[in-house]
Symmetry: C2
Amino acid sequence: KPTFDPKEHQHLRYNPLRDSWVLVSAHRMKRPWKGQVEKPPEDNIPRHDPNNPLCPGSVRANGELNPEYDSTFMFDNDFPALQPDAPDPGSDHHPLFQSKAARGVCKVMCFHPWSDITLPLMQPAEIRKVIDKWADLTVELGATYAWVQIFENKGAMMGCSNPHPHCQVWASNFLPNEASLAERCQRDFLQKHGEPMLVQYARMEAQAQERVVVENEHWLVVVPYWATWPFQTLLLPRRHVLRLPDLTTQERDSLASIMKRLLTKYDNLFEVSFPYSMGWHGAPTGSHLNKNMSHWQLHAHYYPPLLRSANIRKFMVGYEMLANEQRDLTPEQAAEQLRKLSEEHYKVKKA
Amino acid sequence: KPTFDPKEHQHLRYNPLRDSWVLVSAHRMKRPWKGQVEKPPEDNIPRHDPNNPLCPGSVRANGELNPEYDSTFMFDNDFPALQPDAPDPGSDHHPLFQSKAARGVCKVMCFHPWSDITLPLMQPAEIRKVIDKWADLTVELGATYAWVQIFENKGAMMGCSNPHPHCQVWASNFLPNEASLAERCQRDFLQKHGEPMLVQYARMEAQAQERVVVENEHWLVVVPYWATWPFQTLLLPRRHVLRLPDLTTQERDSLASIMKRLLTKYDNLFEVSFPYSMGWHGAPTGSHLNKNMSHWQLHAHYYPPLLRSANIRKFMVGYEMLANEQRDLTPEQAAEQLRKLSEEHYKVKKA
Ligand SMILES: O=P(O)(O)O[C@H]1O[C@H](CO)[C@@H](O)[C@H](O)[C@H]1O
Ligand SMILES: O=P(O)(O)O[C@H]1O[C@H](CO)[C@@H](O)[C@H](O)[C@H]1O
């Protein structure tokens, strides 16, 4: 029998943050692709479009006028999935028909006044302002809500309906599924192994280097051992940090720098503005603020859909939806590809 | 405060098969959609294309010649994610870097010799042959493998790379994530409530009628109370049945009939060949065949992505990937829409 080679032999890997497994079948990259190809993203977005509700000076769906903002800009989502005052569906439900109250707020935050810019092309000082706002929002909404989900859907492929650079913040009175999972897994790990899971993980990955994409004094980006999406990454602080507001000035500058480096590599991979969904996970807030949450470590997930080129994506469909998530190249191969890429953005180089 | 109305007030619903919650925010259907629109599926697929590797008489990637089949046709996937003989990654792993062996087989099964037909347009007797093959495969592969996942990816939107009507069967020596979840949830339910979860559920839904889409003597299709995808359905036998091979002749004919009715309604909803991923879940096989698996009830899931029209889909992205799945209309609204639709296929009507 041949000896095990992760690039040739399918195997399962365990995701300790979600208590689930991913099937790695790297030999599958050899199959030809005859399915759907994606439209490349629009490349001539106007810098300012008075009809775009996210632009400075535009009027939004609810009739409000945006200020002539020159940095970040925040407003309430005009079609929020969560509202602060929804009535309670009541209790006393049959076990097969259980519901519960969901309350919260949904905000939108523009990163920059221009529609034709993205994070990797912004200045570190501009990215730093985004990070400060994220931290402020976590304090502000976290005072009341148990979970403050900051996330960015980038690219039409990721359901993003507006090219203007922006993210969303949905805060809720409940721990969402993914938050509960991360809460339980990290709590169990600390109890069992005496160290926060992701603090130990970052140290081991920094040592191994095999899955590291970029790193600096305060941060580390890896394609995690258990990555599901082809070029999924995990952004981790080296120090034990519970939540975004706990980051020092230095750590925030350093975060702006590593985000720019990572996102530049992403764009350079297929020379396209790289689509993804990303988001921050930190210790729960609200009533959890005065509990011991030391099993948590702040981190951000990047989930990009592209697999082979600017227009060939990974589909998480049949087998993945009904049975088990599956990936077509090893995390080590993905990390190596990203690591080798230039940190100069292809658009800057061409300009 | 207004009284709770599920169509107006967001709330969470519990999925007892996956032990997770879905956020229902039906008021969100009001928001305008400015994001990506999907290409309509190809409508002039040739009945026979000698270059299509799934057609009768074609040569496949591995050089094999397909027979001139006139009903169903099965072959081994030429680019299998699971192979029977992959070497073991070994044991003794660090808790953060765990892997395990994955062995199995991947098969493809054509439903019909024609490329321009789909299940709802096939004759009940032809669908019946597909069902018999599914049952046979479950016996054959289930003799060795713990899980036999039968699934169909339909439509380019669902990553399907060939328009010829077909499904796939991936059998594995392990219980995939979704199977483990369903195993644990159904086991706990029987223990706690003394009746198999989905047997009780089918009875209650048949009585309530609110979420029923189609039903007959042996089967029931509902938009489950906890549906995630806009028009997701759950197909359930009324009798307690563990696995596909346990179905009687009558139940198989009746299944062919209800599948045709459901899929016709799906196509009629937006007058398009409705994309989806579907798959069967039955009691585990292999070494589980001689254990007591009476907590299981056979069922099929249909996960269709479309939300508003033939080219506007639901994106399960940022918030859904990082926090919690969310839906934009209530399951009751979806069931009502599907229930009201004709059972005569729009293509037959127009022909
Ligand atoms: O096997 P196919 O049809 O080439 O591939 C399709 O189904 C598979 C199983 O759900 C997925 O892993 C692939 O991403 C998808 O494109
Ligand atoms: O809020 P948007 O950008 O209109 O919508 C997008 O993000 C939401 C949160 O991930 C999703 O629920 C939507 O399906 C998606 O299209």
